[in-house]
Structure formats: structure tokens, C-alpha cells
Amino acid sequence: MENLEFYILLLFVIVGALVAVETKNLLSAVICIGAAGFGGSLMFLFLRAPDIAITQIVVEVLALVILIRVTISRDKTFISGDWELVGVIFSVGFLLIIFLAGIKVFDSLPEFGSPSFVANSELQDTASQHYIEHGVNDTGAANIVTSVILDYRAYDTLGEATVLFTSIVGAVIILRKHSRTPLEIGS
């Protein structure tokens, strides 16, 4: 199999995720998520996406700091594993059906090695072909991914920066101490 490294890495991420879901100790669950994330970032590197690999590792570090902050300070790290059978059986069965339906679907996607702008480039001139050929001339940036982010699709990145801004203001609101003014009107 020619892209063997992807299978190994994806298997590693899946095993890490499974262990994170099933383990009893919260802290080890968070560590497994971290390991799965680093496996994913390695996979990005092998998939020729260095930008994403850097961002994934660094975001992974901060996510781990946030997650560990939650689990370590709480004394109760062990969760009572009460398996109520009916809910688990029903959801596992339901998810199995979705998975089988999903498997059949992926053959309509272009084969793994050839991206979509190569596979159906005869339908119409796709945007990615334009980005690769005229990326440097149009925007002057050598890194085509940055030129796509900040010039061709800069509106996405404005939305992106606003998403981060909203979640930070939201977190500040939720973590504030006094939520209601002392003068309660009417109650």
C-alpha cells in the first residue's frame, strides 16, 4: 500500500480517541486527546499542509492547558462508570447504521490521491487551479495558503477573527463574578 504512513497515523488517532472516550480517569482522557491531536498534526505534515500542522500543534498545546486546568483542580477525577445498557445499545446500533451508510458513500468521492480540482477540472475552471497558477502574481505572497486566506477569501478570515472574538467575550461574560446588580427590581 503506497500511503502506508496515513493508515498508521490515522489508526493511532482512532486508538487515542477510543481510549480517551472509554477511560475512567479524566486526566488520562485529556492526555489521550492530546496524543490524538499530535498524531493528527503529524498527519497534516505528511499530507503536505505545513501551515495547518503548525497551527494544529500550537492550538493543541493551548487546548491541553485549558483542558488540564479543568480536570486537575477538581478533586474528583474518577467518574462513576454507570453503564445504563439501553441507551448505549440503542446509540451504538444507530451509529452503526450511519457508519454503514457512510461507507457506501465514499466511493463517489474522487480517489484519495487525486484532489477534486484535478478530478473534475474538465467541468469548469476550479478556483484551486487559479490559486496555484496566479497566486503569486495576483497577491504577491509566496505562500499560496496565506494568499487564499487573506486576499482571495479574506471575508472568511474576518468571520474567523470574529468567531474567536465572540467566544472570548462569551467566556468573559460567563466567568464574571456578579451576574445581577444588587438592586433587584420587583423581586
Binding site: 495547518i52 480536570t71 490559486y131 478570515t157
Partner: protein, 120 residues
């Protein structure tokens, strides 16, 4: 086959969100689903034997990107999408964790079966 494994990761995340009772475990389930979708998007743009979509000094001669780069470059568009998706997942993770902390301070537990003040 790789897409199917990616979808399996997505299903594992969905399973964790549906079945688990601990709030932090549910948050971890959502993080797993985000990993699966990001991996799926980047795998769509991979070209076997391709190179990263960054034009080197030698590949840019006299204002024209030479043909070897155009044939070999990986698709830059999904990478732009995934960069956005990663930062969205970090933002929503920060908000979820702050909600978890605040509910732990109020209820004293992460177990959603005991936080059942709301009915329905």
C-alpha cells in the same frame, strides 16, 4: 478506505457525545469530531506525491510559476478552510470549558444526571 476511517473517528466523537454522562467527556467528544472533520477536509485536497502549496524562490521565474510546481502542488483551498475550522474549534472549546467550570462551581459535580434541575 482512508475516508471511511476518518468517518469512523467522526462516529466515535458522536458516540462519546451521545452516551457519556460527564460534562468534560462530552466536550472531549466534540473535540474528537472536530479533529475528524479537519482531517477529512485536508485529505480531500491531497495529491499523491504532491508538494506543499508554497512557491519556492527557484520555482518562480520571470513572473511565471513553472509547470513542475503547478503539476505537483497540493490543493490550497481545503487548507484555508481547515485553518478557520481549527480556530473555531479552539474558540468553542474555551467557551464550553468556562461553562463547565461555572456549572461545577454551582452544582459541585460534572455529572449531567445530577444536574437535572431542568426537566425535558
Amino acid at each position: 478506505m482512508l475516508y471511511a476511517m476518518c468517518f469512523l473517528l467522526f462516529i466515535i466523537g458522536l458516540y462519546c457525545v451521545l452516551v457519556k454522562k460527564n460534562m468534560v467527556k462530552i466536550v472531549l467528544g466534540i473535540v474528537i469530531m472536530e479533529y475528524a472533520v479537519n482531517l477529512f477536509l485536508i485529505m480531500l485536497g491531497y495529491r499523491s506525491g504532491g508538494i506543499a502549496p508554497i512557491v519556492g524562490q527557484d520555482e518562480y521565474t520571470s513572473g511565471l510559476v513553472d509547470a513542475s510546481f503547478i503539476q505537483a502542488s497540493v490543493d490550497p483551498l481545503p487548507q484555508a478552510l481547515v485553518l478557520t475550522a481549527i480556530v473555531i474549534s479552539l474558540g468553542s472549546l474555551a467557551l464550553m470549558i468556562s461553562i463547565c467550570i461555572r456549572t461545577y462551581e454551582r452544582y459541585g459535580t460534572f455529572d449531567i444526571t445530577q444536574i437535572r434541575r431542568l426537566k425535558g
